[in-house]
Amino acid sequence: MVGLVLISHSRKITDGIKELVEQMVADKVKVVSAGGLDESTLGTSVEGILNGINSVYDESGVLLLVDLGSAVLSAKEAIEFLDESKQNNVVISNAPLVEGSFIAAIEASTGKTLVEVNNAAEGTKELNKLG
């Protein structure tokens, strides 16, 4: 099953998203909150993201959901630190962090592939919230 790693400058943001998606999918999806430099400092940590990826990795792959700036840079750098065999199996999503993570978790819980999960997550860019 596709794993999800949530990355933001704020651990509170990624902890909150993790809580939100787990309410939907319970423990059916492997989700890691890898925001913040640490629990209380704003920032991102390449090492923290790398550990997050490795902790949820299996051959189905891992989707990284990011917000802005160094979240993207640190995610890219973390992928380069992975074993080469894993690198092609880890993708940074261009989805909005909250909405994308929510949809990605639902899709992942139904056993979709990494490409399918990412397409669904990125599709939330077009979501019409005001219906």
């Binding site: 991102t44 940590s45 090492e47 840079l73 750098e77």
Partner: protein, 212 residues
């Protein structure tokens, strides 16, 4: 006069960078407060004080391993975008110096720094004129290359590199940012010196201070 930088000078460089970042912590943060998230000095100081804290763990290793240790430390302790970016410079320098454990020629130093900033441009996507650290590194390293061609010694090369870097830092003031946090401010980012360009200038100055 020399055409080499040895390992002990590289270690001095790292110490000098840590010192100058510490001294300029508030200055860098103030620059960042104007057009960013007011944390550049704090982040860089946190990263480089950790680099200094770990000094004994890498000081006896080959140059490549020293750069690698610094890269990993910066990437995991700086926090902002400068963590992965400066970390990447040192990581690329580590790869470039695999076969030169004790000392680098001027050419080898140039190539390592060039690989470093190329790596930054590759991952961050910034080009010259986007109001980032790239605005300092690229022209400064062009000067480095030209001086190598002129057969200058390393001390002279680094003096000219720093003089170019100083000029380019100031040249970031009127620019509108196209990368990084400041880019969200659009036109309002003009009129302020770029913090990342400023810390890059400090790092090059520190390098110039240790070569002979």
């Amino acid at each position: 006069m020399s055409n080499n930088i040895n390992k002990s000078q590289i270690l001095q460089w790292i110490k000098a960078v840590s010192e100058t970042i510490k001294e300029n912590k508030d200055y860098l943060t103030d620059l960042d407060a104007a057009i960013g998230d007011a944390d550049h000095g704090i982040n860089m100081e946190r990263g480089f004080s950790k680099v200094l804290e770990k000094f004994d763990s890498y000081k006896d290793k080959p140059i490549s391993d020293i750069f690698k240790a610094i890269a990993m430390t910066l990437m995991s302790t700086v926090g902002g975008a400068s963590g992965p970016l400066y970390g990447r410079i040192f990581r690329k320098m580590s790869v470039a110096t695999k076969d030169t454990p004790d000392s680098l020629t001027s050419e080898e130093l140039y190539q390592a720094l060039k690989d470093g900033i190329d790596g930054v441009m590759e991952i961050g996507g910034a080009k010259v004129g986007d109001k980032t650290m790239v605005d300092v590194w690229v022209p400064a390293l062009e000067v480095f290359r030209n001086e190598l061609g002129n057969g200058s010694d390393l001390k002279t090369i680094m003096e000219k590199v720093v003089s170019e870097a100083d000029k380019q830092v100031e040249a970031t003031i009127p620019l509108v940012a196209r990368k990084g946090r400041a880019s969200y401010l659009g036109e309002r980012s003009a009129g302020h010196q770029d913090p990342g360009a400023t810390s890059s200038d400090l790092i090059l100055k520190a390098l110039a201070s240790v070569v002979e």
